[in-house]
Point group: D2
Chain length 145, copies 4
Protein backbone atom coordinates (compact mmCIF):
# COMPACT_ATOMS: atom_id res chain seq x y z
CA UNK A 1 0.00 0.00 0.00
CA UNK A 2 1.21 3.48 -0.93
CA UNK A 3 0.06 6.43 1.19
CA UNK A 4 -0.12 9.91 -0.33
CA UNK A 5 -0.63 12.61 2.28
CA UNK A 6 -2.72 15.66 1.44
CA UNK A 7 -3.40 18.78 3.49
CA UNK A 8 -6.81 19.88 2.28
CA UNK A 9 -6.58 23.54 1.31
CA UNK A 10 -9.16 26.34 1.34
CA UNK A 11 -9.08 26.33 -2.45
CA UNK A 12 -9.84 22.60 -2.61
CA UNK A 13 -13.19 23.25 -0.92
CA UNK A 14 -16.52 24.53 -2.16
CA UNK A 15 -19.04 26.90 -0.57
CA UNK A 16 -20.32 24.04 1.62
CA UNK A 17 -16.83 24.06 3.20
CA UNK A 18 -15.94 20.54 2.05
CA UNK A 19 -13.73 19.19 -0.72
CA UNK A 20 -15.31 19.85 -4.12
CA UNK A 21 -15.56 16.23 -5.22
CA UNK A 22 -13.72 16.51 -8.57
CA UNK A 23 -10.61 17.39 -6.53
CA UNK A 24 -10.46 13.86 -5.13
CA UNK A 25 -9.64 12.59 -8.62
CA UNK A 26 -6.76 15.08 -8.67
CA UNK A 27 -5.62 13.65 -5.32
CA UNK A 28 -5.88 10.11 -6.78
CA UNK A 29 -3.72 11.19 -9.71
CA UNK A 30 -1.16 12.79 -7.40
CA UNK A 31 -1.07 9.52 -5.44
CA UNK A 32 -0.29 7.62 -8.66
CA UNK A 33 2.48 10.09 -9.50
CA UNK A 34 4.15 9.83 -6.09
CA UNK A 35 3.77 6.01 -6.27
CA UNK A 36 5.87 6.02 -9.46
CA UNK A 37 8.43 8.28 -7.76
CA UNK A 38 8.62 6.71 -4.33
CA UNK A 39 7.49 3.09 -4.67
CA UNK A 40 8.50 2.05 -8.19
CA UNK A 41 11.58 4.23 -8.18
CA UNK A 42 10.71 5.22 -11.77
CA UNK A 43 9.87 8.93 -11.58
CA UNK A 44 6.56 9.73 -13.22
CA UNK A 45 8.01 12.80 -14.99
CA UNK A 46 10.73 10.57 -16.50
CA UNK A 47 8.05 8.13 -17.77
CA UNK A 48 6.23 10.95 -19.56
CA UNK A 49 9.04 13.18 -20.75
CA UNK A 50 11.90 10.70 -21.01
CA UNK A 51 10.14 7.60 -22.29
CA UNK A 52 7.10 9.09 -23.99
CA UNK A 53 4.60 7.01 -22.01
CA UNK A 54 1.26 8.22 -20.73
CA UNK A 55 -1.18 6.67 -18.27
CA UNK A 56 -4.61 8.09 -19.05
CA UNK A 57 -7.66 6.86 -17.16
CA UNK A 58 -10.17 4.78 -19.10
CA UNK A 59 -12.40 4.30 -16.06
CA UNK A 60 -12.68 5.92 -12.68
CA UNK A 61 -15.19 5.96 -9.85
CA UNK A 62 -15.63 7.02 -6.24
CA UNK A 63 -18.05 6.49 -3.36
CA UNK A 64 -18.21 9.23 -0.77
CA UNK A 65 -19.02 8.48 2.87
CA UNK A 66 -17.63 11.19 5.17
CA UNK A 67 -16.75 14.69 3.93
CA UNK A 68 -13.26 16.23 4.15
CA UNK A 69 -12.96 19.88 5.15
CA UNK A 70 -10.19 22.44 4.70
CA UNK A 71 -7.35 22.02 7.14
CA UNK A 72 -7.91 18.24 7.29
CA UNK A 73 -4.82 16.08 6.87
CA UNK A 74 -5.85 13.06 4.87
CA UNK A 75 -4.14 9.86 3.75
CA UNK A 76 -4.91 8.71 0.21
CA UNK A 77 -4.18 4.97 0.38
CA UNK A 78 -3.46 3.40 -3.01
CA UNK A 79 -3.27 -0.30 -3.87
CA UNK A 80 -2.73 -2.03 -7.20
CA UNK A 81 -5.61 -4.49 -7.56
CA UNK A 82 -5.22 -5.60 -11.17
CA UNK A 83 -2.68 -5.74 -13.98
CA UNK A 84 -3.75 -6.33 -17.59
CA UNK A 85 -1.70 -6.51 -20.74
CA UNK A 86 -1.97 -2.73 -21.26
CA UNK A 87 -3.59 -1.53 -18.05
CA UNK A 88 -3.21 -1.05 -14.29
CA UNK A 89 -6.13 -0.99 -11.86
CA UNK A 90 -5.71 1.12 -8.71
CA UNK A 91 -7.97 1.09 -5.66
CA UNK A 92 -8.15 4.09 -3.31
CA UNK A 93 -9.27 4.62 0.25
CA UNK A 94 -9.12 7.98 2.03
CA UNK A 95 -8.88 8.34 5.81
CA UNK A 96 -7.62 10.84 8.36
CA UNK A 97 -3.83 10.93 8.07
CA UNK A 98 -2.04 9.17 10.91
CA UNK A 99 -5.19 7.34 11.99
CA UNK A 100 -5.21 4.08 9.97
CA UNK A 101 -8.24 2.82 11.90
CA UNK A 102 -10.31 5.95 11.38
CA UNK A 103 -13.54 5.71 9.36
CA UNK A 104 -13.16 5.65 5.59
CA UNK A 105 -13.98 9.04 4.07
CA UNK A 106 -14.28 7.67 0.54
CA UNK A 107 -13.18 4.83 -1.68
CA UNK A 108 -12.39 4.90 -5.36
CA UNK A 109 -10.76 3.15 -8.27
CA UNK A 110 -9.06 4.09 -11.52
CA UNK A 111 -8.05 1.96 -14.50
CA UNK A 112 -5.15 3.51 -16.39
CA UNK A 113 -3.86 2.31 -19.73
CA UNK A 114 -0.33 2.65 -20.99
CA UNK A 115 -0.43 5.05 -23.94
CA UNK A 116 2.32 5.77 -26.43
CA UNK A 117 2.94 9.54 -26.48
CA UNK A 118 5.94 9.48 -28.82
CA UNK A 119 4.96 10.81 -32.28
CA UNK A 120 7.93 9.02 -33.88
CA UNK A 121 6.54 5.56 -33.08
CA UNK A 122 3.88 3.75 -35.15
CA UNK A 123 1.85 3.14 -31.97
CA UNK A 124 1.61 6.91 -31.26
CA UNK A 125 -1.55 7.66 -29.23
CA UNK A 126 -2.46 3.99 -28.96
CA UNK A 127 -2.48 1.73 -25.90
CA UNK A 128 0.65 -0.38 -25.73
CA UNK A 129 1.83 -3.29 -23.61
CA UNK A 130 3.06 -2.40 -20.15
CA UNK A 131 6.87 -2.29 -20.59
CA UNK A 132 8.70 -5.26 -19.03
CA UNK A 133 10.62 -3.24 -16.42
CA UNK A 134 7.40 -1.67 -15.13
CA UNK A 135 5.62 -5.03 -15.08
CA UNK A 136 8.48 -6.59 -13.12
CA UNK A 137 8.25 -3.90 -10.45
CA UNK A 138 4.46 -3.71 -10.27
CA UNK A 139 3.59 -7.44 -10.34
CA UNK A 140 4.81 -8.16 -6.78
CA UNK A 141 2.64 -5.29 -5.50
CA UNK A 142 -0.69 -6.56 -6.82
CA UNK A 143 -3.18 -7.43 -4.09
CA UNK A 144 -6.69 -8.86 -4.18
CA UNK A 145 -9.36 -6.19 -4.85
CA UNK B 1 -32.07 15.74 -22.00
CA UNK B 2 -30.16 18.83 -20.89
CA UNK B 3 -27.12 19.91 -22.90
CA UNK B 4 -24.36 21.91 -21.23
CA UNK B 5 -21.89 23.35 -23.70
CA UNK B 6 -18.22 23.64 -22.78
CA UNK B 7 -15.35 25.20 -24.70
CA UNK B 8 -12.35 23.21 -23.50
CA UNK B 9 -9.69 25.68 -22.37
CA UNK B 10 -5.90 25.47 -22.33
CA UNK B 11 -6.03 25.35 -18.54
CA UNK B 12 -8.43 22.38 -18.57
CA UNK B 13 -5.77 20.29 -20.30
CA UNK B 14 -2.69 18.48 -19.09
CA UNK B 15 0.79 18.12 -20.62
CA UNK B 16 -0.57 15.41 -22.96
CA UNK B 17 -2.74 18.19 -24.46
CA UNK B 18 -6.05 16.58 -23.45
CA UNK B 19 -8.54 17.30 -20.69
CA UNK B 20 -7.11 16.35 -17.30
CA UNK B 21 -9.76 13.81 -16.39
CA UNK B 22 -10.79 15.25 -12.98
CA UNK B 23 -12.02 18.30 -14.92
CA UNK B 24 -14.82 16.24 -16.45
CA UNK B 25 -16.41 15.90 -13.02
CA UNK B 26 -16.32 19.70 -12.80
CA UNK B 27 -18.09 19.83 -16.18
CA UNK B 28 -20.66 17.31 -14.90
CA UNK B 29 -21.27 19.53 -11.86
CA UNK B 30 -21.62 22.62 -14.05
CA UNK B 31 -24.15 20.70 -16.15
CA UNK B 32 -26.18 19.95 -13.01
CA UNK B 33 -26.06 23.62 -12.00
CA UNK B 34 -27.24 24.90 -15.39
CA UNK B 35 -29.96 22.18 -15.39
CA UNK B 36 -31.36 23.66 -12.16
CA UNK B 37 -31.21 27.15 -13.70
CA UNK B 38 -32.47 26.44 -17.20
CA UNK B 39 -34.54 23.24 -17.04
CA UNK B 40 -36.05 23.21 -13.55
CA UNK B 41 -36.33 26.98 -13.40
CA UNK B 42 -35.11 26.77 -9.81
CA UNK B 43 -31.70 28.49 -9.83
CA UNK B 44 -29.01 26.38 -8.22
CA UNK B 45 -27.62 29.37 -6.30
CA UNK B 46 -31.09 29.98 -4.83
CA UNK B 47 -31.29 26.30 -3.74
CA UNK B 48 -27.99 26.60 -1.85
CA UNK B 49 -28.09 30.14 -0.50
CA UNK B 50 -31.81 30.76 -0.30
CA UNK B 51 -33.13 27.38 0.82
CA UNK B 52 -30.08 25.90 2.51
CA UNK B 53 -30.06 22.74 0.39
CA UNK B 54 -26.95 20.99 -0.92
CA UNK B 55 -26.56 18.22 -3.48
CA UNK B 56 -23.28 16.45 -2.70
CA UNK B 57 -22.26 13.40 -4.71
CA UNK B 58 -22.31 10.06 -2.92
CA UNK B 59 -21.21 8.18 -6.01
CA UNK B 60 -19.68 9.14 -9.33
CA UNK B 61 -18.01 7.35 -12.21
CA UNK B 62 -16.84 7.86 -15.78
CA UNK B 63 -15.64 5.78 -18.72
CA UNK B 64 -13.35 7.51 -21.20
CA UNK B 65 -13.35 6.57 -24.89
CA UNK B 66 -12.10 9.48 -27.03
CA UNK B 67 -9.99 12.32 -25.59
CA UNK B 68 -11.02 16.00 -25.68
CA UNK B 69 -8.38 18.60 -26.51
CA UNK B 70 -8.19 22.35 -25.86
CA UNK B 71 -10.25 24.38 -28.27
CA UNK B 72 -12.82 21.55 -28.61
CA UNK B 73 -16.44 22.54 -28.22
CA UNK B 74 -18.16 19.74 -26.38
CA UNK B 75 -21.73 18.97 -25.37
CA UNK B 76 -22.22 17.48 -21.92
CA UNK B 77 -25.56 15.69 -22.24
CA UNK B 78 -27.31 15.09 -18.91
CA UNK B 79 -30.28 12.85 -18.23
CA UNK B 80 -32.03 12.02 -14.95
CA UNK B 81 -32.10 8.22 -14.76
CA UNK B 82 -33.27 7.65 -11.20
CA UNK B 83 -35.06 9.39 -8.36
CA UNK B 84 -34.92 8.04 -4.81
CA UNK B 85 -36.42 9.35 -1.61
CA UNK B 86 -33.36 11.53 -0.94
CA UNK B 87 -31.32 11.18 -4.13
CA UNK B 88 -31.13 11.95 -7.84
CA UNK B 89 -29.18 9.83 -10.32
CA UNK B 90 -27.74 11.64 -13.36
CA UNK B 91 -26.26 10.02 -16.46
CA UNK B 92 -23.78 11.90 -18.67
CA UNK B 93 -22.59 11.52 -22.23
CA UNK B 94 -20.06 13.85 -23.86
CA UNK B 95 -19.83 14.43 -27.62
CA UNK B 96 -18.67 17.11 -30.01
CA UNK B 97 -21.02 20.08 -29.65
CA UNK B 98 -23.46 20.46 -32.51
CA UNK B 99 -22.85 16.92 -33.73
CA UNK B 100 -25.37 14.75 -31.88
CA UNK B 101 -24.39 11.68 -33.91
CA UNK B 102 -20.64 12.07 -33.31
CA UNK B 103 -18.81 9.35 -31.37
CA UNK B 104 -19.19 9.42 -27.60
CA UNK B 105 -16.10 10.88 -25.93
CA UNK B 106 -17.04 9.61 -22.49
CA UNK B 107 -19.98 8.55 -20.38
CA UNK B 108 -20.50 9.05 -16.68
CA UNK B 109 -22.96 9.06 -13.81
CA UNK B 110 -23.38 10.82 -10.50
CA UNK B 111 -25.72 10.11 -7.60
CA UNK B 112 -26.42 13.25 -5.58
CA UNK B 113 -28.24 13.34 -2.28
CA UNK B 114 -30.24 16.21 -0.93
CA UNK B 115 -28.39 17.53 2.12
CA UNK B 116 -29.63 20.00 4.69
CA UNK B 117 -27.12 22.86 4.92
CA UNK B 118 -29.12 25.04 7.31
CA UNK B 119 -27.53 24.98 10.79
CA UNK B 120 -30.83 26.07 12.37
CA UNK B 121 -32.60 22.83 11.40
CA UNK B 122 -32.35 19.54 13.34
CA UNK B 123 -31.46 17.72 10.09
CA UNK B 124 -28.38 19.96 9.53
CA UNK B 125 -25.77 18.10 7.49
CA UNK B 126 -28.01 15.07 7.03
CA UNK B 127 -29.70 13.76 3.89
CA UNK B 128 -33.31 14.84 3.69
CA UNK B 129 -36.27 14.00 1.45
CA UNK B 130 -36.27 15.67 -1.93
CA UNK B 131 -38.65 18.66 -1.41
CA UNK B 132 -42.05 18.24 -3.05
CA UNK B 133 -41.66 21.11 -5.53
CA UNK B 134 -38.37 19.69 -6.81
CA UNK B 135 -39.83 16.18 -7.06
CA UNK B 136 -42.81 17.49 -9.02
CA UNK B 137 -40.54 19.13 -11.56
CA UNK B 138 -37.98 16.34 -11.82
CA UNK B 139 -40.29 13.31 -11.95
CA UNK B 140 -41.54 13.96 -15.50
CA UNK B 141 -37.93 14.16 -16.69
CA UNK B 142 -36.82 10.73 -15.49
CA UNK B 143 -35.85 8.38 -18.31
CA UNK B 144 -34.70 4.76 -18.34
CA UNK B 145 -30.97 4.34 -17.62
CA UNK C 1 -12.97 45.50 -26.35
CA UNK C 2 -13.56 41.77 -26.17
CA UNK C 3 -16.11 40.44 -23.67
CA UNK C 4 -15.79 36.90 -22.34
CA UNK C 5 -18.87 35.76 -20.46
CA UNK C 6 -18.52 33.46 -17.45
CA UNK C 7 -21.19 31.81 -15.34
CA UNK C 8 -19.50 31.45 -11.96
CA UNK C 9 -19.86 27.85 -10.85
CA UNK C 10 -20.08 26.28 -7.40
CA UNK C 11 -16.66 24.75 -7.99
CA UNK C 12 -15.10 28.14 -8.78
CA UNK C 13 -15.95 29.32 -5.27
CA UNK C 14 -14.33 28.79 -1.89
CA UNK C 15 -15.83 28.18 1.55
CA UNK C 16 -16.59 31.91 1.86
CA UNK C 17 -18.97 31.41 -1.09
CA UNK C 18 -17.04 33.71 -3.44
CA UNK C 19 -14.70 33.06 -6.35
CA UNK C 20 -11.38 31.66 -5.11
CA UNK C 21 -9.17 34.42 -6.46
CA UNK C 22 -6.71 32.26 -8.47
CA UNK C 23 -9.70 31.32 -10.65
CA UNK C 24 -9.88 34.87 -12.01
CA UNK C 25 -6.53 34.33 -13.73
CA UNK C 26 -8.07 31.24 -15.36
CA UNK C 27 -10.96 33.44 -16.52
CA UNK C 28 -8.44 35.99 -17.87
CA UNK C 29 -6.70 33.21 -19.81
CA UNK C 30 -10.00 31.94 -21.19
CA UNK C 31 -10.77 35.50 -22.31
CA UNK C 32 -7.45 35.61 -24.19
CA UNK C 33 -8.24 32.27 -25.84
CA UNK C 34 -11.70 33.31 -27.00
CA UNK C 35 -10.22 36.65 -28.20
CA UNK C 36 -7.89 34.71 -30.53
CA UNK C 37 -10.85 32.62 -31.73
CA UNK C 38 -13.51 35.29 -32.06
CA UNK C 39 -11.74 38.63 -32.52
CA UNK C 40 -8.50 37.81 -34.32
CA UNK C 41 -10.05 34.93 -36.25
CA UNK C 42 -6.89 32.96 -35.55
CA UNK C 43 -7.98 30.09 -33.29
CA UNK C 44 -5.83 29.80 -30.19
CA UNK C 45 -5.62 26.00 -30.53
CA UNK C 46 -4.29 26.45 -34.07
CA UNK C 47 -1.62 28.89 -32.78
CA UNK C 48 -0.39 26.35 -30.25
CA UNK C 49 -0.78 23.05 -32.07
CA UNK C 50 -0.54 24.18 -35.68
CA UNK C 51 2.09 26.90 -35.49
CA UNK C 52 3.98 25.91 -32.37
CA UNK C 53 3.53 29.28 -30.65
CA UNK C 54 2.88 29.80 -26.96
CA UNK C 55 1.81 32.90 -25.06
CA UNK C 56 3.00 32.45 -21.47
CA UNK C 57 2.51 35.23 -18.94
CA UNK C 58 5.61 37.05 -17.74
CA UNK C 59 3.61 39.37 -15.50
CA UNK C 60 0.10 39.40 -14.14
CA UNK C 61 -1.80 41.31 -11.47
CA UNK C 62 -5.29 41.95 -10.18
CA UNK C 63 -7.08 44.32 -7.81
CA UNK C 64 -10.26 43.05 -6.23
CA UNK C 65 -13.11 45.39 -5.31
CA UNK C 66 -16.44 43.53 -5.19
CA UNK C 67 -16.66 39.74 -4.78
CA UNK C 68 -18.29 37.41 -7.30
CA UNK C 69 -20.45 34.56 -6.00
CA UNK C 70 -21.60 31.30 -7.57
CA UNK C 71 -24.44 31.71 -9.98
CA UNK C 72 -23.24 35.21 -10.96
CA UNK C 73 -23.01 35.91 -14.67
CA UNK C 74 -19.95 38.06 -15.19
CA UNK C 75 -18.38 39.82 -18.16
CA UNK C 76 -14.59 39.66 -18.38
CA UNK C 77 -13.76 42.71 -20.52
CA UNK C 78 -10.39 42.49 -22.25
CA UNK C 79 -8.48 45.26 -24.00
CA UNK C 80 -5.02 45.27 -25.62
CA UNK C 81 -3.14 48.15 -24.02
CA UNK C 82 0.38 47.54 -25.29
CA UNK C 83 2.27 45.74 -28.02
CA UNK C 84 6.02 45.16 -27.78
CA UNK C 85 8.39 43.40 -30.14
CA UNK C 86 7.74 40.04 -28.47
CA UNK C 87 4.87 40.79 -26.08
CA UNK C 88 1.21 41.76 -25.73
CA UNK C 89 -0.22 43.60 -22.74
CA UNK C 90 -3.86 42.90 -21.86
CA UNK C 91 -6.02 44.85 -19.41
CA UNK C 92 -9.06 43.27 -17.75
CA UNK C 93 -12.15 44.58 -16.04
CA UNK C 94 -14.88 42.35 -14.61
CA UNK C 95 -18.49 43.46 -14.18
CA UNK C 96 -21.93 41.92 -14.00
CA UNK C 97 -22.73 40.53 -17.45
CA UNK C 98 -25.22 42.60 -19.39
CA UNK C 99 -24.76 45.61 -17.11
CA UNK C 100 -21.90 47.60 -18.66
CA UNK C 101 -22.40 50.43 -16.15
CA UNK C 102 -22.40 48.17 -13.09
CA UNK C 103 -19.60 48.60 -10.53
CA UNK C 104 -16.26 47.05 -11.39
CA UNK C 105 -15.74 43.79 -9.50
CA UNK C 106 -12.02 43.66 -10.24
CA UNK C 107 -9.40 44.89 -12.66
CA UNK C 108 -6.30 43.08 -13.84
CA UNK C 109 -3.54 42.93 -16.41
CA UNK C 110 -1.35 40.29 -18.01
CA UNK C 111 1.76 40.62 -20.16
CA UNK C 112 2.18 37.61 -22.43
CA UNK C 113 5.26 36.93 -24.53
CA UNK C 114 5.34 34.99 -27.77
CA UNK C 115 7.27 31.80 -27.12
CA UNK C 116 8.55 29.30 -29.66
CA UNK C 117 7.22 25.86 -28.72
CA UNK C 118 8.54 24.01 -31.79
CA UNK C 119 11.52 21.80 -30.83
CA UNK C 120 12.73 21.76 -34.44
CA UNK C 121 13.48 25.50 -34.46
CA UNK C 122 16.66 27.08 -33.04
CA UNK C 123 14.54 29.51 -31.02
CA UNK C 124 12.75 26.63 -29.20
CA UNK C 125 11.53 27.79 -25.78
CA UNK C 126 12.71 31.35 -26.37
CA UNK C 127 10.67 34.52 -26.84
CA UNK C 128 10.33 35.42 -30.50
CA UNK C 129 9.01 38.37 -32.45
CA UNK C 130 5.25 38.59 -32.75
CA UNK C 131 4.57 37.13 -36.23
CA UNK C 132 3.61 39.72 -38.85
CA UNK C 133 0.08 38.42 -39.43
CA UNK C 134 -0.71 38.59 -35.73
CA UNK C 135 0.79 42.07 -35.43
CA UNK C 136 -1.26 43.27 -38.39
CA UNK C 137 -4.48 42.11 -36.76
CA UNK C 138 -3.67 43.22 -33.22
CA UNK C 139 -2.19 46.68 -33.92
CA UNK C 140 -5.53 48.31 -34.84
CA UNK C 141 -7.01 47.03 -31.57
CA UNK C 142 -4.50 48.66 -29.22
CA UNK C 143 -6.01 51.30 -26.95
CA UNK C 144 -4.52 53.60 -24.33
CA UNK C 145 -4.05 51.90 -20.94
CA UNK D 1 10.70 33.42 6.12
CA UNK D 2 8.20 30.61 5.77
CA UNK D 3 8.85 27.92 3.16
CA UNK D 4 5.95 25.98 1.67
CA UNK D 5 7.08 22.96 -0.33
CA UNK D 6 5.14 21.91 -3.42
CA UNK D 7 5.62 18.90 -5.67
CA UNK D 8 4.34 20.13 -9.02
CA UNK D 9 1.80 17.60 -10.31
CA UNK D 10 0.82 16.61 -13.84
CA UNK D 11 -2.55 18.24 -13.26
CA UNK D 12 -0.95 21.55 -12.26
CA UNK D 13 0.57 21.82 -15.73
CA UNK D 14 -0.79 22.89 -19.10
CA UNK D 15 -0.22 21.49 -22.61
CA UNK D 16 3.13 23.32 -22.75
CA UNK D 17 4.20 21.02 -19.88
CA UNK D 18 4.69 23.85 -17.39
CA UNK D 19 2.64 25.12 -14.46
CA UNK D 20 -0.53 26.83 -15.68
CA UNK D 21 0.16 30.24 -14.16
CA UNK D 22 -3.11 30.66 -12.20
CA UNK D 23 -1.98 27.66 -10.12
CA UNK D 24 0.84 29.72 -8.61
CA UNK D 25 -1.74 31.87 -6.84
CA UNK D 26 -3.18 28.66 -5.39
CA UNK D 27 0.33 27.77 -4.19
CA UNK D 28 0.67 31.27 -2.68
CA UNK D 29 -2.63 30.75 -0.84
CA UNK D 30 -1.54 27.34 0.42
CA UNK D 31 1.68 28.96 1.67
CA UNK D 32 -0.39 31.50 3.63
CA UNK D 33 -2.50 28.69 5.12
CA UNK D 34 0.48 26.63 6.25
CA UNK D 35 2.08 29.83 7.64
CA UNK D 36 -0.95 30.29 9.92
CA UNK D 37 -0.70 26.63 10.95
CA UNK D 38 3.05 26.26 11.36
CA UNK D 39 4.48 29.73 12.01
CA UNK D 40 1.74 31.61 13.83
CA UNK D 41 0.48 28.50 15.60
CA UNK D 42 -3.07 29.74 14.87
CA UNK D 43 -4.50 27.18 12.46
CA UNK D 44 -6.02 28.78 9.39
CA UNK D 45 -9.11 26.51 9.56
CA UNK D 46 -9.69 27.67 13.15
CA UNK D 47 -9.47 31.34 12.02
CA UNK D 48 -12.17 30.79 9.40
CA UNK D 49 -14.49 28.30 11.07
CA UNK D 50 -13.85 29.03 14.74
CA UNK D 51 -13.43 32.80 14.73
CA UNK D 52 -15.32 33.76 11.59
CA UNK D 53 -12.41 35.64 10.03
CA UNK D 54 -11.50 35.63 6.35
CA UNK D 55 -8.38 36.88 4.56
CA UNK D 56 -9.43 37.68 0.99
CA UNK D 57 -6.91 39.18 -1.42
CA UNK D 58 -7.46 42.78 -2.45
CA UNK D 59 -4.35 42.82 -4.62
CA UNK D 60 -2.05 40.20 -6.05
CA UNK D 61 0.68 40.06 -8.67
CA UNK D 62 3.42 37.84 -10.01
CA UNK D 63 6.44 38.08 -12.33
CA UNK D 64 7.52 34.89 -14.03
CA UNK D 65 11.16 34.23 -14.90
CA UNK D 66 11.85 30.48 -15.17
CA UNK D 67 9.06 27.93 -15.77
CA UNK D 68 8.25 25.06 -13.38
CA UNK D 69 7.47 21.64 -14.86
CA UNK D 70 5.65 18.61 -13.47
CA UNK D 71 7.75 16.58 -11.11
CA UNK D 72 9.64 19.69 -9.94
CA UNK D 73 9.95 20.14 -6.20
CA UNK D 74 9.63 23.84 -5.51
CA UNK D 75 9.93 26.03 -2.44
CA UNK D 76 7.40 28.83 -2.13
CA UNK D 77 9.18 31.31 0.16
CA UNK D 78 6.82 33.69 1.95
CA UNK D 79 7.71 36.84 3.86
CA UNK D 80 5.49 39.43 5.56
CA UNK D 81 6.54 42.79 4.14
CA UNK D 82 3.79 45.05 5.44
CA UNK D 83 1.15 45.24 8.15
CA UNK D 84 -1.68 47.77 7.94
CA UNK D 85 -4.61 48.38 10.25
CA UNK D 86 -6.73 45.82 8.43
CA UNK D 87 -4.28 44.20 6.01
CA UNK D 88 -1.20 42.00 5.64
CA UNK D 89 1.19 42.22 2.71
CA UNK D 90 2.99 39.00 1.72
CA UNK D 91 5.92 38.70 -0.68
CA UNK D 92 6.66 35.42 -2.47
CA UNK D 93 9.69 33.96 -4.19
CA UNK D 94 9.73 30.50 -5.77
CA UNK D 95 12.90 28.44 -6.27
CA UNK D 96 13.91 24.81 -6.57
CA UNK D 97 13.27 23.16 -3.20
CA UNK D 98 16.41 22.46 -1.23
CA UNK D 99 18.49 24.83 -3.35
CA UNK D 100 18.18 28.24 -1.66
CA UNK D 101 20.74 29.76 -4.05
CA UNK D 102 19.04 28.47 -7.22
CA UNK D 103 17.65 31.02 -9.69
CA UNK D 104 14.31 32.57 -8.82
CA UNK D 105 11.49 30.98 -10.84
CA UNK D 106 9.02 33.73 -10.03
CA UNK D 107 8.24 36.42 -7.49
CA UNK D 108 4.86 37.62 -6.34
CA UNK D 109 2.92 39.52 -3.71
CA UNK D 110 -0.53 39.47 -2.18
CA UNK D 111 -2.30 41.96 0.04
CA UNK D 112 -4.94 40.27 2.19
CA UNK D 113 -7.48 42.11 4.30
CA UNK D 114 -9.08 40.79 7.44
CA UNK D 115 -12.76 40.28 6.69
CA UNK D 116 -15.55 39.57 9.13
CA UNK D 117 -17.34 36.39 8.02
CA UNK D 118 -19.67 36.12 11.01
CA UNK D 119 -23.25 37.05 10.01
CA UNK D 120 -24.13 37.78 13.64
CA UNK D 121 -21.75 40.73 13.85
CA UNK D 122 -22.52 44.26 12.58
CA UNK D 123 -19.24 44.25 10.61
CA UNK D 124 -20.28 41.13 8.63
CA UNK D 125 -18.52 41.09 5.25
CA UNK D 126 -16.54 44.23 6.02
CA UNK D 127 -12.83 44.65 6.60
CA UNK D 128 -11.99 44.79 10.29
CA UNK D 129 -8.90 45.55 12.36
CA UNK D 130 -6.37 42.78 12.58
CA UNK D 131 -7.14 41.17 15.98
CA UNK D 132 -4.60 41.96 18.70
CA UNK D 133 -3.36 38.38 19.15
CA UNK D 134 -2.63 38.05 15.44
CA UNK D 135 -0.90 41.43 15.33
CA UNK D 136 1.27 40.48 18.31
CA UNK D 137 2.43 37.33 16.55
CA UNK D 138 2.86 38.82 13.09
CA UNK D 139 4.57 42.13 13.97
CA UNK D 140 7.94 40.55 14.90
CA UNK D 141 7.97 38.75 11.54
CA UNK D 142 7.68 41.83 9.32
CA UNK D 143 10.73 42.43 7.14
CA UNK D 144 11.62 45.17 4.66
CA UNK D 145 10.08 44.63 1.19
Amino acid sequence: MHVHRVRVGFGDCDPAGIVYFPRFFHFFHEAMETWFDEVLGLPYAEMIRGRGLGFPAVHTEADFAVPCAFGDEIAVEQRVVGLGRTSIRFAYRVRTHGEPDSPTRLTGATVSVVMDLDPRRPTFRRPIELPADLRARIEPLVVAP
